[in-house]
Amino acid sequence: MLSNLTLLLLCQLAGEVLARLLGLPLPGPVVGMALLFGGLVARRRMPVGLEETAHGLLRHLALLFVPAGVGVTLYLPLIADEWLPISFSLLASTAATIAVTAAVMRALAPRRSSDG
């Protein structure tokens, strides 16, 4: 548990350092995710207990959004001013994204009888 948490933090730390050193257009934790993914692929197996640690963090992923979400309190006037472009954009763009992604995958995916 402790060693896996250390591994996640080390990947994040390495990610932050790499992103800054190389001037990558990526947030440090994302580089850390890529490093861990690359490490797992190279090693071909999961370190003992890493699944559980990752599961524990990701099971309550939604909770981790709350403090940042409460930051909306700082932007209430801005949102009140621009509620129409914001709400229309969110609705229309989310619908378009779902339709385009599904259509491209349906057109390109190797067909299998179980796909229905």
């Binding site: 257009p25 861990l36 709350v66 472009p85 989310t94 599904a102 190797p110």
Partner: protein, 239 residues
């Protein structure tokens, strides 16, 4: 007695304990209501917790900064949680090897559609530049979206709110849209939900089937990478 309470309040208001506890309580109450009312996607626990805490802050006259002094301990975990997304991604390695080309094409098409339509519609309706840059990464999972927003000149905490709203919308209406355009394949349905509405869409996809959920989780991670790579370049090219 009243003085005692006041002294206790003054003390508690300066420790991180209160912000942290309020965050956990609000989220757990939100989860409880969500489960009691048949997991209705519109009653998202995050949405509930955010509204409840904002109201509490307003009623007690507490500044966001004071609240965040405590809540930052929860917020910090977004970093390691993002790194941990590599684990479910690795679990889908065999699927990734089999149809990686079509998956990447679908995710890139979805990533570009999300950013271009979000910015395009809001721009046409007169949104400010800060709002546009905060909207651009709205389909990406929060920790990545906030990093991207910071980089392209948006407001990270506004982005966090827009990301959460996008997730709730996608989870609520996504499967309905997929039914209308007659997409039946679990792979395509999962990818669409994950690209458009990240973790909240993935939770919805898992309710359909395990395969749909796995593809959605995969799409969430890949879309984070694709958008983090493409969006700053797109913004640099256009401005």
């Amino acid at each position: 007695m009243k003085q005692d309470f006041q002294a206790i309040w003054v003390y508690l208001a300066t420790t991180p304990l209160l912000g942290l506890t309020v965050t956990l309580i609000a989220y757990q109450v939100g989860t409880w209501i969500h489960e009691r009312l048949g997991r209705n996607p519109l009653l998202n626990p995050v949405l509930f917790a955010v509204v409840a805490i904002v109201l509490t802050l307003k009623l007690t006259g507490t500044a966001y900064g004071t609240y965040f002094d405590g809540a930052q301990f929860v917020h910090f975990l977004l970093g390691p949680a993002t790194v941990a997304l590599a684990v479910p991604l690795y679990r889908q390695l065999s699927v990734l090897r089999r149809s990686w080309a079509s998956i990447i094409a679908a995710v890139v098409a979805g990533s570009l559609t999300a950013a271009v339509t979000a910015v395009g519609f809001a721009w046409a309706l007169g949104a400010s530049r800060e709002t546009l840059m905060s909207l651009a990464p709205k389909s990406v999972t929060t920790p990545i979206a906030m990093g991207i927003a910071e980089q392209i000149g948006g407001l990270p905490s506004l982005t966090a709110v827009l990301v959460i709203l996008t997730g709730i919308l996608g989870a609520a209406f996504g499967t309905w849209i997929l039914d209308r355009i007659r997409v039946g394949s679990p792979a395509a349905r999962g990818l669409a939900l994950g690209v458009a509405s990240h973790g909240i869409g993935t939770a919805r996809a898992l309710q359909e089937s395990e395969v749909t959920g796995a593809f959605s989780g995969l799409a969430m991670g890949l879309n984070g990478l694709a958008t983090a790579l493409l969006l700053p370049l797109l913004v640099a090219l256009l401005s």
